[in-house]
């Protein structure tokens, strides 16, 4: 005869929860036949589980369906934005920055540039395989350039790049505007941009085949927003809603890494969280630009 201790053990619950082996089940059933306490417990449990399984299913209220439908329409999606966060190369991010800066580059004046041709501008950017790219150690190929519009940088080598088509045509109407006044300090994407003329080779035009060619070389320095601190009150909710890497937990909030700034700004604006942008002094890169202007001259002008 089994003692009272065993009658109170949870073998009953293991029995009804399919934990016992066939042998153990048989033993327990045999035991119950001769143990009033276990048998009573079994009947009680049977009634309880019967009531549990008989708990009715509830219909979804129409009001809930409607509110869910409405809420879904107003909800931003994570997946599509998340894909855009997977951009690895900062050089890809720089494309819209380059386009903005390229527009600004066209707005310069003086001398041979007065007749800058809108139909045949050649603007090249440093966004080629040879171009320096953003690096945590910017001294590798790109020189870390201190942003200073008034101080030309002495450089030993010209920055010649393969000319490429500009993404936006350069207008003619700003030819008289001094270049230095048009250096943008901030693009729509929030990057800090400085533009410095490295070398003005336009003063000595080369004449060849009846054409004057002149070039201006410029180095564009871009600082990219590298991280962002999301204010604490919305931070957890925001971070839980998207899959993003947390760099640090600061007093101001969670610091997260941002790779695709445009997408991030769009999403966080929807979310309504406050944030502060941080720039890393080490993440700068230089885009070397060559702008060519061609003007056809008659032979007699040259001789």
């Amino acid at each position: 005869m089994q003692n009272e201790q065993e009658c109170n053990c949870h073998k009953l619950f293991d029995y009804v929860s399919d934990i016992l082996s066939e042998t153990e089940k048989s033993d327990f059933e045999l035991h119950m036949n001769s143990c009033p306490d276990c048998k009573k417990d079994f009947l009680i449990l049977k009634n309880i589980m019967g009531a549990v399984s008989a708990i009715p299913e509830i219909e979804v209220p129409d009001s809930l369906r409607n509110s869910v439908s409405e809420a879904l329409k107003n909800t931003g999606r994570i997946g599509s934005i998340k894909n855009r966060f997977n951009i690895r190369q900062i050089v890809k991010f720089a494309a819209p920055v380059a386009a903005c800066a390229a527009v600004a580059i066209g707005f310069f004046s003086g001398g041979v540039y007065d007749s800058f041709s809108a139909s045949n501008p050649e603007i090249s950017s440093g966004l080629t395989e040879q171009a320096p790219v953003a690096s945590e150690n910017p001294t590798d190929t790109a020189q870390k350039v201190i942003v200073d519009e008034n101080k030309p940088i002495q450089s030993e080598k010209p920055y010649k790049q393969s000319p490429k088509s500009s993404e936006k045509p350069i207008g003619e109407d700003s030819a008289t505007t001094p270049f230095s006044e048009k250096i943008p300090t901030e693009t729509d994407s929030g990057a800090i941009v400085a533009l410095e003329i490295q070398e003005n080779s336009g003063q000595i035009p080369e004449v060849a085949n009846g054409e004057i060619e002149s070039s201006v070389y410029a180095r564009r320095t871009v600082k990219i927003p590298s991280s962002c601190v999301i204010k604490a009150d919305k931070a957890e909710e925001f971070i839980a809603s998207i899959n993003i890497e947390i760099i640090d937990n600061t007093e101001r909030g969670f610091k997260i890494k941002v790779e695709d700034w445009d997408s991030f700004e769009s999403y966080i604006a929807e979310f309504g969280a406050e944030y502060e942008v941080e720039y890393s002094d080490d993440i700068v890169y230089n885009i070397d630009i060559e702008i060519k202007n061609s003007q056809t001259l008659d032979k007699e002008d040259i001789e």
Binding site: H10, F13, D14, V16, S17, D18, I19, K40, D41, L43, I44, L45, N47, I48, M49, G50, A51, V52, S53, A54, I55, P56, E57, I58, E59, V60, P61, S63, L64, R65, S67, V68, S69, A71, L72, K73, T75, G76, R77, I78, G79, S80, K82, N83, S241, N243
Partner: protein, 196 residues
Amino acid sequence: MMENILIKKAQKGDSHAFEALIEAHFKQIYNIAFRMTNNPDDAADMTQEVMLKLFRNIGSFSGNSKFSTWVYRVATNTCLDELKKINRKSAISLQNEIETDDGGYTMEIEDNSLTPEQSAEQNELKDIVAKAIAKLNDDHKTIIILRDIRGFSYDEIARIIGTSEGTVKSRLSRARAQLKNIVEKDFGFDGTYFNK
């Protein structure tokens, strides 16, 4: 397969596709939420939160598991999170009412194998059991709802909560023990029916 098409569309942000996709699970999710809280308002809020979370995160569904497994995993976790926020020990009203189509409320469930007296007593037991379930701890509550109320298999539950079948059964055993204890001690259930 239609489900795959709807998933892809939903992942691109199509809320209508998502609604069509989730329709098959809507009632189940609502009932899980209802049994978690035993309160229609909380259940509605909880269900809506589940739906939004599913839609926001459907991009993370990679297809490595069944879609339904992913749905109920998110639903269960979200319900438990929301339950913590609600921060109630018991969300049960004294009258555990269920809405009917005509807007009225009734607890009448027909059971032809019982006498009218037994049927009434069983309804009363169902009411008590529903209240007792809401008193269980989160793990036990989840397992009783998924297995004993909603009828998920051990395998499905294991996938949903991210554990083994063995653990599911152990947890179920302990949950049932706790449930019996609450029904007996907190509600005076003794024997087949109440000890009056």
